[in-house]
């Protein structure tokens, strides 16, 4: 009897390579890798769902504008207000436009846009695809001889990847306008001298790296949302979990990517 029990326990242990949690983690990473690989395989294969891509671009881009506008504008004003006392101590308040434009274009606009999109767009994608998964709509697409990955995932990931840089540039513009209003109210600086001073310190590398960075953030948000939605299980609870996991995973990845890209760009600079 004792031998049998021991034998059963051994069999249980042998079902896992390392431990149940680690095995699950690594198999999850492998599944994600396959999911991403499938995106690049399907991306260049016809049919191209251009109408659906355009619809998703509208959903991701246009529908995010109100929130992005408000956040960008407030960031511009608040950041300017908070930076002024420190610069005034050194008699360097004329450097405000340069400081703001560097901070906004290099870091704030890409990061803020990505975090807002992760919360708004990422959760939306996770919940929508999750709900389609648990109500068998994805299976229905598959049995009607349509590739659901191509129609649902490729279009959404493409939309987030293309629209995030556009949203980032818009955020930067709105934040700069907010900042200008504050600078103009306090220092009576004209718009022309604010822009001249602000953009004199910005290089092509700054703009290019921010655009590139937000494309990566957009791709991450799209993939995380689609992956979580596609793998949703257990009814409505699973849909909620998918939406939540999409936001958490994409935010975590955005910070990691930001750190890596900053290191690379600084090395190039």
């Amino acid at each position: 009897m004792a031998f049998n029990l021991k034998n059963k326990n051994l069999q249980k242990v042998r079902r896992h390579l390392i431990s149940p949690r680690l095995d699950e983690f690594f198999s999850g990473v492998y599944r994600l890798y396959k999911f991403i690989l499938e995106f690049f395989k399907q991306l260049f294969r016809p049919p191209f769902e251009m109408q659906e891509v355009a619809r998703q671009c509208y959903e991701v881009g246009y529908r995010s504008l109100p929130l992005i506008s408000l956040t960008g504008f407030i960031i511009g004003i608040v950041f300017t207000k908070q930076s002024r006392p420190s610069l005034q101590e050194f008699g360097a308040s004329s450097w405000l436009p340069s400081l703001i434009s560097i901070a906004v274009i290099r870091a704030l606009a890409p990061l803020v846009t990505a975090l807002i999109a992760a919360g708004k767009v990422g959760s939306n994608i996770g919940a929508e695809l999750g709900s389609m998964k648990v109500t068998e709509q994805i299976d229905a697409m598959e049995v009607s001889a349509t590739n659901p990955y191509k129609f649902l995932v490729v279009t959404r990931v493409l939309a987030t990847t293309l629209m995030l840089p556009v949203l980032m540039m818009y955020t930067a513009l709105v934040a700069m306008m907010g900042s200008y209003l504050n600078v103009h109210a306090n220092e009576l600086t004209s718009l022309r001298s604010f822009l001249d001073s602000g953009f004199s310190t910005i290089s092509f590398l700054d703009i290019f790296s921010s655009i590139f960075k937000t494309m990566i953030f957009g791709f991450t948000i799209g993939i995380a949302g689609c992956y979580q939605g596609f793998n949703a299980t257990q009814g409505t609870q699973g849909v909620g979990r998918a939406a939540n996991a999409a936001v958490v995973a994409s935010m975590f990845m955005i910070f990691v990517e930001e750190m890596i890209i900053v290191q690379i760009v600084n090395a190039i600079r």
Binding site: P47, Q137, D139, A140, V143, A145, F151
Partner: protein
């Protein structure tokens, strides 16, 4: 409603399943299922919830992979097909889902046009529109063409779900619990629709259900699934005239419950 007898062509097998097994973890759902469906025949698979009825038809369209055994649909072994071959096969199979699985973000028209637009690029907009209106008219719901799925009743959703599969003119129809969640009158309408589809589109069908009224009205042959295997197959009378206690308890439960409800 009278039961209709469909004339099956016993020389043409459209579905052939041999010794099919499927497990999910430690749960053995199918334990050696054998089934043959002939052209023009309606086969009802009866069984309690969780006995693997839906798993069986999902394997037939390649949504799930079998662990063991052979599934052949229209002469092709499903698990041996590549993606393109599977896509071609799926064009010949209509799958009506338990919850209809209509695409929430699209209108009824867009739902129906969806498989046509993607699989028949040569069709013009007008041809797609005509085909959409025709199948919707066939299921008696032409007036809902511009509505969203959320605006439809349960019975209407089922009908639109069936119409969406009919638009591809399938040779085989698979119905997953077609009357689940519907009131008795709407259920009768759906049963009639299944028979009408069979007559009009000359399909062969597998109907998964635990509703005996549906089974009696639509099935030419009943296959009783129990403990992962078919316990018996035959006409409704042959199956339920048997002395087997498990079959009798299934029969009694269904009709006693129906009597109590009425």
């Amino acid at each position: 409603m009278k039961r209709r007898i469909h004339i099956a062509d016993k020389t043409q097998k459209v579905i052939s399943i041999e010794n099919l097994e499927k497990s999910f973890g430690t749960l053995h759902v199918l334990r050696g299922v054998d089934l043959e469906v002939f052209k023009g025949e309606n086969v009802v698979v009866l069984g309690r919830s969780g006995t693997g009825k839906s798993v069986l038809i999902k394997i037939m369209v390649g949504l799930l992979k079998p662990d063991k055994g052979m599934v052949s649909v229209l002469g092709q072994q499903v698990d041996a097909l590549n993606n393109n071959q599977l896509r071609q096969l799926r064009l010949k199979i209509g799958f009506s889902f338990q919850n209809s699985a209509l695409y929430d973000s699209m209108t009824v028209r867009e739902n129906l046009a969806f498989p046509l637009v993607r699989n028949f690029k040569q069709l013009t907009r007008k041809e797609i529109s005509t085909a959409t209106e025709k199948v919707l008219d066939d299921v008696g719901l032409l007036h809902t063409i511009d509505q969203m799925p959320a605006e439809l009743s349960g019975g209407q959703r089922k009908r639109v779900g069936i119409a969406r599969t009919l638009i591809l003119q399938p040779e085989i129809m698979l119905y997953d619990e077609p009357t689940a969640g519907l009131d008795p009158i709407t259920s009768l309408d759906i049963n009639s629709l299944i028979n009408e589809v069979q007559e009009q589109y000359h399909t062969s069908s597998i109907i998964i259900t635990h509703d005996l009224t549906c089974a009696r009205q639509t099935g030419d042959r009943i296959a009783m699934l129990l403990d992962g295997k078919f316990l018996t197959q035959g006409t409704f009378e042959e199956v339920f005239d048997a002395d087997d206690e498990r079959i009798q308890s299934f029969y009694n439960y269904n009709f006693i419950t129906a009597d109590e409800t009425s």
